[in-house]
């Protein structure tokens, strides 16, 4: 017997209903939903500022309405970090939804303790430097700064505890992504917290699952000639069938499009990985360089031999800070003398903005050098050039003024120039700077609260 973990969300906005065929088909024992990219919490903070009862992902209401009734009926727990900045309010919403649907006996767990925004000054006072992991820079006095969010990456322990307490749905905030998937394995198999190889196996399974479509042919060069493009909207989502030893098979929901092959597994294995021999998580340091991959039938890849070692001493925190706003404008010019017209456009813009506090200004030519920069050779006399202008300022008004001034040159512009209408009408976008740091484990205490119907 294996324990089967389904993965039905890899980002905020993913199609979570792909959990349904896994559940109703009897293919999984638990389903995990990973909703939080590095940036997602800053997006959710906007919602929470507008309404203190929000701050969780909207996908959660789809999960509550459409998936929970099916999973609860079959005693398949659901685990999600889609609680974002407000797991307790999210749990309350799920409880209300479930009650309206007539479910009873549902136990919902909300896990908190990751949100450090209000605690930053206290942590600094307690000796936590919160220096930037990438640059080494020390964090200035936190009480004087405009931070948007500050969340520590929790591990699998509180989720495993809630599962062992019989929770049917577990809603967390920031948890290290693969730990969402490790947690049910610990709860099910009772793996020791020092059985590093097994913990690392669970982490590798989680890492392969956490980006849903990306291990079944999505965003895959290896699948470019192996799948039909019309398959993409229907790609199956992945399932890991894990043995008590930690060895597991990656597969997908049967009878749905997609591809699980040695190639798709290798692609996802190294996705967003730095040192593959030291993949750091709150629960274990996993080693990807000892594992063995083996084809195990159609759309099945067996992963064995994962090793691990002691987890890192400290936990990672991501602190987000508002750094201003950015704006995009797209222009097109054509033959004759397209490059001269581009120079005119740039000079016109520079002159219009001379007295504006524009902070960064960047030009690229779509289809010519926007992806590969200096690798691309620009044609000498092109028939057309699409110019993308990106500019930033500390406030939105500057960007709006800048846009208005350029647009007011509509009839006094380089000859034959056109403007992308959708860029004229769009709003400035917030720039959120991320500050990765470390914090002592002794400062962090996850808490679990339960709601029942």
């Amino acid at each position: 017997m294996t324990y089967r973990i389904g993965s039905a969300q890899g980002f905020y906005g993913d199609d979570v209903t792909k959990a349904l065929p896994m559940i109703t088909g009897g293919h999984v024992d638990v389903v995990c939903f990973e909703a939080l990219s590095e940036l997602t919490l800053a997006i959710l903070q906007k919602d929470r500022l507008a309404n203190p009862a929000r701050g969780y992902t909207f996908d959660l209401s789809i999960i509550a309405r459409q998936i929970l009734p099916e999973s609860f009926k079959r005693k398949i727990p659901l685990i999600t970090n889609g609680g974002g900045l407000n797991p307790v309010a999210a749990a309350e919403m799920v409880r209300e939804t479930a009650a309206k649907l007539g479910l009873s006996g549902v136990k919902i767990a909300a896990i908190t303790g990751d949100d450090l925004l209000a605690r930053l000054p206290e942590l600094q006072a307690a000796g936590e430097a919160l220096s930037n992991m990438d640059t080494g820079e020390r964090l200035a006095n936190a009480s004087n700064q405009q931070f948007v969010t500050a969340n520590v990456y929790l591990g699998a322990a509180p989720i495993a505890e809630a599962l062992q307490a019989g929770a049917d749905m577990i809603i967390t905030g920031r948890v290290a992504d693969p730990c969402l998937y490790l947690a049910p394995l610990i709860a099910h198999y009772g793996w020791s917290w020092e059985d590093w190889d097994k913990l690392a196996s669970g982490i590798v399974a989680g890492h392969l699952l956490e980006c849903t479509g990306q291990v079944v042919g999505g965003n895959s060069l290896a699948a470019l000639h192996a799948l039909a493009p019309t398959d993409l909207p229907y790609l199956a989502y992945p399932i890991a069938e894990v043995e008590a030893s930690g060895t597991f098979v990656i597969t997908k929901t049967p009878n749905t499009p997609g591809l699980v092959s040695l190639e798709t597994v290798k692609e996802q294995l190294l996705y967003e990985v730095h040192d593959p021999a030291n993949y750091l998580t709150p629960d274990v340091t996993a080693n990807f360089t000892t594992l063995h991959l083996e084809a195990a039938g159609e759309n099945r890849v067996r992963v064995s031999g994962v090793t691990g070692k002691l987890r890192p001493e400290k936990l990672k925190v991501n602190i987000a800070r508002m750094e201003g706003y950015m704006r995009e404008l797209i222009f097109a010019v054509g033959y004759p003398e397209a490059w001269l017209k581009v120079e005119w456009l740039k000079a016109m813009i520079a002159e219009s903005w001379r007295d504006l506090p524009i902070q960064r200004l960047s030009y690229s030519y779509l289809g010519m050098n926007s992806l590969f920069g200096s690798l691309s050779e620009l044609p000498a006399d092109p028939l057309e050039v699409v110019v993308r202008v990106m500019f930033t300022a500390s406030d939105q008004d500057t960007l709006k003024t800048a846009t208005r001034r350029v647009m007011s040159n509509g009839l006094s512009c380089p000859p034959g120039m056109s403007v992308s209408g959708s860029t004229i009408g769009s709003d400035p976008r917030a720039i959120v700077g991320l500050w990765p740091a470390l914090v002592g484990r002794d400062k962090i205490t996850p808490e679990i609260s339960y709601l029942t119907i």
């Binding site: 690229s364 200096s374 720039i431 959120v432």
Partner: protein
């Protein structure tokens, strides 16, 4: 057409803050030996030019016949700050795989 790295390998790029990684996964055992011997950090950095302005590290995975390159300061400040159309650096795989290879 000259041969490119894409003839020998495929891969995927990912982002973490302002750091990008590009995996280069060999299509055959022979290709892996070739890549391991000749796809050096220096060569990658020289090829990518201003796409790899910072430190570049290379990791070897003999078990899956792949190399992993980690590029510091390669994402224009990171996905949330970047002014590039490819703010997540998802296209960086192609930037590396278009390298001519003989």
């Amino acid at each position: 057409m000259p041969r490119t790295l894409y003839d020998l390998a495929y891969g995927r790029a990912g982002d973490k803050g302002n750091i990008a990684n590009i995996s280069v996964i060999a299509r055959t055992p022979e290709a892996y030996q070739d890549l391991k011997a000749h796809l050096t950090v220096e060569r990658v950095k020289a090829h990518l030019g201003d796409l790899a302005p910072g430190r570049v590290l290379r990791y070897e995975l003999d078990n899956i016949e792949a190399l992993n390159f980690v590029l510091y300061d390669a994402l224009d400040g990171g996905a949330t700050r970047s002014l590039r159309i490819d703010a997540l650096g998802k296209g960086l795989t192609g930037a590396l795989l278009c390298m001519e290879w003989d």
